[in-house]
Point group: C2
Chain length 619, copies 2
Amino acid sequence: QMPRGNLETIHHRALVLAQLRKWLDSLRFRDAFEVMRKQRINLNLIYDHNPKVFLENVEMFLNQVDSINHINLFLTELRDEDTTKTMYPCPSTCTPPSAPGVTGKKVDIVCDALRATMECLNPDRYCLCILTTHVKKTVPELETALQKVHQLRVNTPSSSEAVKAEEALKYLLFLVDVNDLYTHSLGTYDFTLVLMVAEKSQKDPKEYLPFLNMLKTLELNYQRYTIDKHLKRYSKALQHLSKCGDEYFSEVLNLVKDQQLYREALSLYPTDSSQYKELSAAYAEHLVERSQAEMAGLLLWRCGELARALQAFVGGASWRHALSVAMQMPLPPDQLALLARDLADKLLEQRRYTEASVLLEQYAKDCEEAISALITGAAWEEALRLVHLYNRQDIIETNLKPALLEAYTTQVSFLESQKALFSRHQTRLAVVREEKEKARQEMLDEGDCGDVELYSEASSVMSGSHVGSRYTHSNSRISARSSKNRRKAEGKKFSLKEGSPFEETALLHALTHITHTVDKMREEIQGLLKALVLFQYDDQAGTLQRNYSQLLTLMESNIPLIWIPNNTQTLVTGPTSTANSITASFQQQRVPPTAQQDTEAFTPPKMRTSVKWKLCVLD
Amino acid sequence: QMPRGNLETIHHRALVLAQLRKWLDSLRFRDAFEVMRKQRINLNLIYDHNPKVFLENVEMFLNQVDSINHINLFLTELRDEDTTKTMYPCPSTCTPPSAPGVTGKKVDIVCDALRATMECLNPDRYCLCILTTHVKKTVPELETALQKVHQLRVNTPSSSEAVKAEEALKYLLFLVDVNDLYTHSLGTYDFTLVLMVAEKSQKDPKEYLPFLNMLKTLELNYQRYTIDKHLKRYSKALQHLSKCGDEYFSEVLNLVKDQQLYREALSLYPTDSSQYKELSAAYAEHLVERSQAEMAGLLLWRCGELARALQAFVGGASWRHALSVAMQMPLPPDQLALLARDLADKLLEQRRYTEASVLLEQYAKDCEEAISALITGAAWEEALRLVHLYNRQDIIETNLKPALLEAYTTQVSFLESQKALFSRHQTRLAVVREEKEKARQEMLDEGDCGDVELYSEASSVMSGSHVGSRYTHSNSRISARSSKNRRKAEGKKFSLKEGSPFEETALLHALTHITHTVDKMREEIQGLLKALVLFQYDDQAGTLQRNYSQLLTLMESNIPLIWIPNNTQTLVTGPTSTANSITASFQQQRVPPTAQQDTEAFTPPKMRTSVKWKLCVLD
């Protein structure tokens, strides 16, 4: 071939590509292939030009190209890249082929399609190409390829076109790293294949022969297990080892623990076997270490390890399961009571008062403690139920009523504090917004002297709430920041310190939080009100209902003042406005879109006005 | 006085007002008053010009004006209106006085301030003015005024300046309607006063004398009750009637029922009295009629009406209270069991399975039914607890396991249906949005030919999602619509019919709903997974976990595609853009601000990603 100048190459190529497209459209694969090979055009284009047509005409492609070497060339050059989009984009005049209906990795699709056709046409003749299709897959199918070579050796095909095993192996070694191939040959557990590869690999026989000989002495399953382990295929290793008999179970257990193959191991043994139990216990131990005590308990319970299951459930505070197991064992009554008290203490610590009361009542048989737990948890109705169930009306005077009055005092002062906080934040918010508006007006008054970007930048620094636009406009700066810095900045957003650049957002967050906290109290307040009325504390109930109602109304009526809907601000078009001033005023109106959290702060909290909590007798 | 021409009046007034302001500023009230009276300038200005200064110098005002008639003139002309803002706005050159520190109704403030000063200075002399201040208050204090007149009659003041009772009454009748005055005189329960007014009123004695004579024969409290009732002052009537003794209690009860004065009535009797009980019962009856059975029960219970309280609690499905009362009565065991079953049935109907199980277990003593309720409610842990508590392991095989497998099948197919619905809506949303974008592009391409309003109108009709702007721009149309029509329009927003103008909103609503429904299932699915694992249904558990996890991931990853953040759309400023095109493009970007519901639809649903539900043993 003659050396080519740049000019020739470039101009020529555009013309060549146009010609190639025509040929490919008319299925003249051979002509296309020849030209592409000579002009060093990436062969992927044959497929990429129109994947659907290619896949429908694989046989024609093979017949036209008609050379093992050329087919292999095509196969080895395959890449998961659409050359019509990267190297050879279609000029705008030619319409690109409609989106292909094929999904999956391109290389795998082409390899599988070609192999299927070649195996149909003439597996002997296309032998080497078939091997290439196995090797080129995204996950190379080296073992299948090796198996095919082995087949050639065992049953040498009679056909004259057939390739010899020797030759095929040589070809494989040319395509694949020798160590990879050796490893995979081991993985077939076929020693003839291993030796075949090893011999061709120019490896030192002193290196591999002793290992192979040792393997040959082992029992079949243990042999395969040893190979799998050698190849770090632990799942397969486990499967083979599990077939070696009970005497190897301790080795199984070690492998399972080392490689955390608990789930696979459990599926290999019948659920009623002792091995299943031992594996479950090991798994449970592992889960407890990972703070999954409840899961551990479930595994132990289902294989009948009751004592250990109980321990796990207690550890995980799964009190229902713990007591189920305790009853199943069964635990002696005194120990059961102790267990119940122990668990109840844990639940009380977690403020799960109603659950604790069930334990104390039904298992520790201590109704007094159970009622006390319910009173502490403000579960007034349930407390009363137990009071009457156990005929302990005395507790009403000694515990229930004082607790009710205390709850009343606590709630009233809590509501007061929330109200004060809400008003303080709202007042401060007005100040912050006024300052921002002042800054904005000054900016607008200055008119066209600065461009929009400058404007929004300055405004965001002053107001702090429109820092979003800073991110949007100067991408170079944001990309320079590390994500750590960004996290730091987000943390600052919540600073309520006066003058903090994120103060508006922080105030909105705080106001949302207070609103939700107070709004969530509807059910709790109603429960308390009912209990107060029941015990003739009408005055206190009246005060509480009034205060809570006032606070809710205050919040509800202030929400539209704090979270101003977008459309209240008027448009600023008019004779004196410019494109920039319009843009700027719109930017002011828009919610700063930085992060999800910001959008949240600028969304008004929703109150559960549908939850009716007032008592009509107090209105 | 000479007749005045228009010109003179108008020009003169501006000058006069300027002069008046100067006089008022230098506290020359008399000069100001004289001129205002002559020029017919509203006297309110004296106060309005500077409320603070006036209130601080009331005494000086009184001394300067120094005429009972003039003071009365000033008082009767008082109105709750700031004349400096309405009739006599301050010209822009003079700075308006800073906002007054006084809150409350202006008329009341001025009346109270003047009266206080006059009563200090010379109550006898200012007598008629003082009466005027009472009458002029927002809620006229006619009784106080009448009492003062009565005082004049009883203790005729010696002072020569003093006004006679006769004269004062005449003045009152001049200020107030005679029937009003008669009514209020009756309300003082003072018959001399009543007669005094009646005589002056030119009423026919035949009209009022028989009634007054009848009243005089009554016992004091009953007399007052009769008067109060006559005047429709039912609260006072109740108070007086309650003092008349037990024989009148049936009348009390009737009054209470007629006027629904239950709360007032209860506060008039000691809580341990029989009347309190009867009133409570009446109140309870009333509450039951208003579907407030639980409240009724509380009132009956607290006054010891156990049987009726029980009935009310059963009616209100307040099962805890019902059983508390039943235990307190106490109900015989067989009836208690019946009651428990009855209530349990109600709770089961309301899908409150766990509560029903407590009733069945603890009161009906039917553990089998209790466990069955828990299984129906998918409360697997609690069901197991009772199974073991009552040593009924047989139920595991007969009921629990089949229910578990059924729950598995139901959930898997439910998740599948939700997934299909989600994808269908999302696909349709893309189509709707594409059409909208096409319409928008066509609009923008047409350039400046239409004004913004026309543009946004057309676009909203086409896309249906920006109907918000239609409301914003043409207020005349919206105000013409009745609120009923608006409600109708909002209902349409949720129509998922293809091509409906509100389809985008409807689709977003539906997608939000599906997301919330699926996201809410985390706890439920976890509970089912644990139970499945416990009974060795690992395969089913694995499938369910995989399906649910995939669905959650699908939703999470599609949320940013469905609810597109504002900032992804680029600005459309540039050489070819106009003010209108910029405005229009911003309007496209903005969330349509019509109603709260719309904003909701355009806010991405928040998933509870912090709720961990997966079982690690299935991963």
